[in-house]
């Protein structure tokens, strides 16, 4: 039996136009079209200031992948993508568990004492703009007048006199990562708290009656039930790690000692605006976009393979 299509009414058409046509047009114009344009420019030798450019095929791409500095930047991004989400998510999961289900093991399931206070405080860093965070921590890390070295020396650790946290290639990346984690832990904690609050308390109570400790509860109950939140957080944090421009530029504008904190987006910026090679910079942008796509794809695949598609939601 064939279902008859209902005639298009004015009501329907106007609904489509406003809720489907308009967003699609805006999306095509401001998202897809620049992307396509960037790819077009990446195949040219455009300097950025000339009205014309020559088509040079994939030369820019071969240049990128043989350039040791860009490869170093890409390596740094990979390092960030691996470390940042894991550290941030583990930390914020621990904090979220503590303030929701980590409290007294007797009576009602609840968080630590004063947990709402901790929740608010740990969210504070997220309300500071990224650039302000960068500048602030740049001052804290200052070798001679900085807070960190002052505290360390106050604690009797005199070898940290004039130690350049952001100027030593062994510590620059770790110090930078710490700043980013510091800025985001509170936000992801709130995200996970919301997820955990959605789990009925009876489940935790049942687990407790069965003799599960706090760690077992977190691994076997909490994590599987807020898996979607964790995946979302992982992808967001990963995309941030692939960009990371603001933090890197504020803490070490030049790419850091031995380029140890240089990221692709910074190299893209230098290539475009200080070297005047927009064609090459566009190619870097395309590589960056593809890397983001590959990363998201990987996270989905890994989640699928580890059983994330099994329906455990309530």
């Amino acid at each position: 039996m064939k279902r008859r299509r209902k005639p298009l009414t004015w009501d329907k058409i106007s609904f489509f136009a406003v809720f489907l046509g308009l967003p699609l047009a805006i999306y095509l114009l401001f998202v897809i079209w620049p992307f396509v344009q960037a790819f077009g420019y990446s195949l040219t030798d455009w300097s950025g200031f000339s009205p014309t450019q020559n088509f040079i095929g994939l030369q820019n791409y071969t240049k990128i992948f043989t350039d040791d500095i860009f490869m170093k930047a890409m390596g740094n991004n990979v390092l960030l993508v691996i470390c940042l989400p894991i550290i941030t998510i583990i930390l914020s999961l621990i904090l979220a568990s503590l303030v929701t289900v980590g409290g007294s093991s007797k009576g009602q399931i609840k968080g630590l004492r004063n947990s709402s206070f901790y929740r608010v405080v740990s969210f504070f860093p997220y309300t500071i703009p990224a650039i302000a965070i960068g500048i602030m921590w740049g001052q804290i890390y200052d070798p001679s007048g900085g807070l960190l070295n002052g505290l360390l020396r106050g604690a009797g650790l005199n070898q940290f006199k004039d130690f350049a946290w952001l100027g030593d290639k062994n510590t620059a990346m770790v110090a930078t990562m710490f700043v980013i984690v510091w800025g985001f832990v509170g936000f992801y904690m709130v995200l996970f708290v919301a997820g955990i609050k959605g789990i009925p308390a009876e489940l935790f109570e049942a687990a407790r009656i069965d003799g599960a400790g706090r760690f077992r509860t977190a691994v076997s109950i909490t994590i599987p039930l807020i898996r979607d939140n964790i995946q979302t957080a992982y992808i967001y944090m990963g995309i941030l790690a692939l960009d990371a421009f603001v933090y890197m530029a504020a803490l070490n504008s030049g790419g850091g000692p031995d380029n140890s904190t240089l990221v692709m987006s910074q190299q893209l910026f230098f290539t475009a605006f200080s070297k005047g090679q927009f064609g090459l910079a566009s190619a870097m942008g395309v590589v960056l976009a593809l890397a983001t796509l590959i990363f998201s794809g990987l996270v989905f695949v890994v989640n699928r393979l580890t059983g994330g598609d099994k329906d455990v939601s309530l």
Binding site: T52, P143, G167
Partner: protein, 469 residues
């Protein structure tokens, strides 16, 4: 929760981006068509006369975009007012910008750039990218200024060199920058120290300074290459123009020149002796400079003459900032000790595509006349390329007096180089210099790393090289 909604949007984006990747071959051909359609127009012209040597049209508008950095833009406003007075009915529109490259890029591509640009600052447009689109400014320096003198004859020697590319005077650098080794005259006098003239003397002074709990030098992470400037200046003094031409033309092994090597070795000795304040590679450069001007933890600082103005608010009272030529390796270098690295900065350019090219040149001519140049020196405490605008008391600035003295001592022995700005290599060199000043590398590593940066530019066929003779 909000995040959940965004998640959906992001997935949509990913799908869209994938779709875009499929559409790429089509898009590529479309994009290469975009952005074409240039037209050349020199704009309407007026009658050429002595008071209007470029034939600026009556009642025209001059559109100038000026980099708003340490010098501000009011000195151009001053010239604009004079222009409006001399050409009644015309207007000078002076707009500030802190981001010349990003802001003007669409105007260059669209074929409607301003008539006059101060292409300066960290985000200036690389000259090799716009060279073909700029006017030759020889006509400006050959014209007479408002006082009736030929402009060329009123300028310091060598000031046109930094703006000359392949024989074309594409930029007129307006402000004269003297590169020197700066110090507090009062501090040196109080300790009975004299300014070291060779690197050996410098090393010896380092010991005395250490006894007083002071370092010789201090550096900041964004300004580590100030020591590269100092090293190159000292090496050119020692080895002559040979050194300069090797670097400028990116010759193979140019950094291994004996003069450069001996300066690097002298610097390494100072670094290894601990006469550099440690931790510079993690210190913001103005904070590092304040350790020299305010807390006086270091004695010397190599920099351009903008340093006085830059640190004005953080300089100890009675500092008496004074400049000295950089040390040489031997007591009898090829160029005399007083020879000087000086270059004119703030490059003013007139794009050929501008609506009022003659107007852009006319505004430049007004700026080069005595009144406007004196006004600049007086308000900014820095000399312009126009001679004789600074009185003997330097408007009360010791640094300005010493700049004038350094310039007159040097006479004809003034040199500069362009390759770092021209090919935009400063960022890569910073990394190498931070490591070296930190004591974490040696002369051999420094040399090979710097050579690698030069070689990379030389071997990159897409970068247009400009030969220096």
């Amino acid at each position: 929760m909000n995040v959940q909604h965004q998640s959906v949007g992001r997935r949509g984006f990913l799908r869209g981006a994938l779709a875009a990747a499929v559409l790429v071959p089509l898009g590529g051909s479309l994009a290469s068509c975009a952005g074409s359609g240039s037209s050349s127009n020199a704009g309407p012209t007026g009658a050429v006369s002595d008071t209007n040597p470029f034939g600026m049209a009556d009642k025209a508008t001059v559109d100038a975009v000026i980099f708003k950095g340490g010098y501000g833009i009011d000195y151009v406003d001053f010239a604009g007012k004079v222009l409006e007075k001399n050409h009644s009915g015309s207007t000078a529109k002076i707009s500030p910008s802190t981001d010349i490259a990003q802001e003007l890029q669409p105007r260059f591509v669209g074929g409607n750039p301003p008539d006059l640009i101060d292409n300066s600052g960290a985000k200036a447009i690389g000259f090799s990218t716009i060279l073909a689109q700029l006017e030759d400014l020889t006509s400006v320096v050959e014209a007479k200024n408002l006082e009736g003198k030929v402009i060329k004859d009123t300028l310091y020697t060598g000031v046109l060199a930094p703006g000359t590319f392949d024989g074309k005077l594409a930029a007129l650098n307006y402000v004269l920058t003297v590169y020197a080794m700066w110090y507090s005259d009062s501090l040196l006098k109080a300790n009975g120290w004299s300014v070291p003239k060779t690197w050996d003397e410098m090393y010896a002074l380092g010991e005395q300074a250490k006894a007083k709990g002071k370092y010789l030098f201090v550096w900041g992470k964004e300004a580590a290459t100030y020591y590269q400037e100092m090293a190159i200046a000292s090496a050119i003094k020692e080895g002559g123009d040979d050194v300069r031409l090797g670097l400028e033309n990116l010759k193979a092994d140019c950094w291994s020149h004996p003069a450069i090597q001996s300066v690097f070795t002298a610097l390494e000795k100072i670094v290894k002796a601990g006469y550099f304040k440690p931790g510079g590679s993690g210190t913001q450069f103005t904070a590092a400079q304040a350790q020299w001007t305010n807390t006086q933890e270091a004695v010397f600082y190599p920099s351009g003459s903008w340093i006085e103005n830059e640190m004005k608010d953080q300089t100890k009272a009675g500092f008496n900032m004074t400049g000295a030529p950089v040390p040489s390796v031997t007591a009898s270098p090829k160029k005399p000790y007083t020879s000087l690295h000086s270059a004119a900065g703030e490059p003013y350019v007139v794009p050929s595509q501008g609506k009022n090219v003659a107007g852009g040149k006319e505004l430049l001519r007004v700026m080069l006349s005595k009144d406007a140049a004196t006004n600049f020196a007086k308000t900014k405490l820095a000399p312009t390329i126009v001679k004789d605008t600074v009185p003997a008391d330097g408007f009360g600035s010791t640094a300005l007096v010493s700049q004038t003295k350094l310039l007159s001592d040097a006479g004809e022995n003034i040199y500069t180089w362009n390759f770092i700005d021209l090919y935009g290599t400063n960022k890569d060199q910073l990394v190498v210099w931070n490591t070296f000043l930190d004591g974490k590398s040696d002369v051999a590593t420094l040399t090979s790393d710097l050579q690698k940066i030069s070689d990379k530019v030389r071997n990159d066929s897409s970068v247009k090289k400009i030969e220096v003779k």
